[in-house]
């Protein structure tokens, strides 16, 4: 009968596993719910992550203590560090990536908005320009008269955009109406433009706004914000 003396009592070891598990779960769960409720989940994730790293270091120190050999300790610590680094790196990457994607979505929304504006603003102005020059050298009507005639006598401040689908919020406002000049502006109501301090036509601040100016020489486009 062979007798071996070891320094860990198995039943105690089992109890320690449970103590560690319960302790770790309580620690990480508490940390997760500490950050104030916000629209972001990242603060909660990072708080729990920091608590988990503290727990893992404690766990590692417990696992590699004597009588485990130095060589085994080094291998375990190396594996631990590689896995932990990969997790931290990937989490930070995902944080950056998700915010980048959310920002991209708004950029795309802005591009779509500007595209729609540039698609809808020029046609009524081109129509006016065409009719104006079709009069020949003797002009019977001014640019503004033609524009008003073609757009139900719209006046300064009117919206000349007709919604083409339910929820179509695009507005084309007449900003200026002079005999030889018509100015149209179109803006977004929730998509931010380049300058957050820009005063929009409807009184908002910092939203995307595009402008078209019609004269006898043609149309000038201005991306105001």
């Amino acid at each position: 009968m062979e007798k071996t003396t070891i320094t860990i009592e198995i039943k105690q070891e089992v109890s320690i596993i449970f103590i560690y598990l319960v302790g770790g779960i309580i620690l990480v769960s508490s940390a997760f719910f500490i950050p104030a409720h916000s629209t972001e989940l990242w603060p909660q994730f990072y708080a729990a992550g920091i608590a988990a790293i503290i727990y893992l270091i404690a766990l590692l120190l417990y696992a590699v203590r004597k009588p485990v050999s130095i060589k085994a300790c080094i291998v375990a610590i190396a594996c631990f560090l590689i896995t932990l680094s990969a997790l931290i790196f990937s989490s930070i990457q995902m944080d950056k990536q998700s915010h980048w994607q959310a920002d991209k979505l708004m950029q795309i929304r802005g591009t779509i908005g500007r595209g729609v504006m540039m698609n809808k603003m020029p046609p009524p102005l081109f129509k006016t320009l065409k009719v104006f020059h079709e009069q020949g050298s003797i002009k019977k009507e001014t640019i503004s008269q033609i524009f008003q005639r073609l757009n139900n006598n719209a006046s300064v401040g009117s919206n000349i955009s007709k919604p083409i689908y339910e929820g179509d919020s695009l507005k084309l406002f007449i900003k200026e109406l002079e005999p030889d000049r018509v100015e149209l502006v179109s803006q977004e109501t929730y998509v931010k433009g380049r300058n957050p301090q820009f005063d929009n036509y409807n009184g908002q601040k910092g939203m995307i706004q595009e402008k078209c100016i019609l004269t006898a020489r043609g149309i000038k486009y201005e991306s105001e914000n």
């Binding site: 860990i8 598990l21 997760f32 989940l41 990242w42 997790l87 994607q101 540039m118 065409k130 020059h133």
Partner: protein
């Protein structure tokens, strides 16, 4: 904690008494859970960008709990896209995120390290370890999961790079289409204006790209003009293989876009 209690171990010491019955039940449940998670993760591995984590309210378990958090950020991005107010994560998303963190950062490492330590000590004291014993299976499983976590983390980093590249191509393509719209507006204006105002008097003939339109920060543009339409070839500066061929019709609309190279 004083754990130095000597234990006399004999060769005929019954191994199944190492664990209390309750502990064995717990471990069996844990193994079943782990296997279940592995099967789910296997399905999810087909591409986490397409995974349900990105659709709000339908979370899926993952070895990378950051996926839930990313999903929530993107869901909020979609809310902002539609002009809706941003919302905090719902309780199920929070619970699934927490469960993922606990599983990945607490349960797997704890099972792994305790098993690892016990085996290291047993190797020193007893040379016979049954590779098919329950604890060996648990140990192997925790190793596999640990490697999976590291591999998934690295894979997600690589996917981020490729996604950013694809997005850059898409943005460049959109910017070039935007430039084409402005070229079309210029061309149509030329057509509408009379000859006295340097126009084409109802025709595109004579239209030429203004220098600021022929080369922009996005690309180089070449126009071929005939009476009723203008053909434009646009080549990207950022992705030189990316080419768009388009036609500006009689009404000044950009039509028949054909994409080549990187824009395909």
């Amino acid at each position: 904690m004083n754990q130095k209690i000597d234990l006399i171990r004999e060769n005929n010491f019954p191994r199944e008494k190492e664990f209390t019955p309750g502990f064995l039940t717990s471990l069996i449940l844990l193994t079943i859970s782990v296997l279940l998670f592995v099967v789910i993760i296997e399905n999810e591995g087909k591409g986490y960008h397409e995974s349900r984590a990105f659709a709000p309210g339908t979370p899926l378990f993952t070895l990378l709990p950051a996926i839930f958090v990313s999903g929530h950020t993107i869901a909020n991005g979609l809310q902002a896209f539609s002009g809706k107010a941003l919302t905090p994560a719902n309780l199920s998303t929070q619970i699934m995120t927490l469960a993922g963190i606990l599983f990945t950062y607490i349960i797997i490492p704890t099972v792994f390290f305790f098993n690892w330590r016990r085996r290291r000590i047993e190797i020193k004291s007893v040379s016979t370890i049954n590779p098919l014993s329950f604890s060996s299976v648990i140990y192997a499983l925790s190793i596999i999961l640990t490697i999976s976590i590291a591999a998934t983390a690295m894979k997600s980093a690589i996917m981020h790079q490729s996604l950013e590249y694809a997005q850059a191509i898409q943005s460049d393509r959109d910017a070039i289409i935007d430039d084409l719209v402005f070229i079309a507006l210029d061309a149509y204006q030329y057509k509408v204006l009379p000859k006295g105002l340097d126009g084409g008097q109802g025709k595109y003939l004579g239209f030429a790209l203004a220098p600021e339109r022929a080369k922009t920060q996005n690309g180089i543009y070449i126009a071929t003009v005939n009476e009723n339409q203008v053909s434009v070839k646009a080549q990207s500066l950022q992705f030189p293989s990316g080419v768009i061929h388009a036609t500006i019709d009689e009404e000044g609309q950009v039509r028949n876009c054909r994409f080549e190279g990187a824009f395909k």
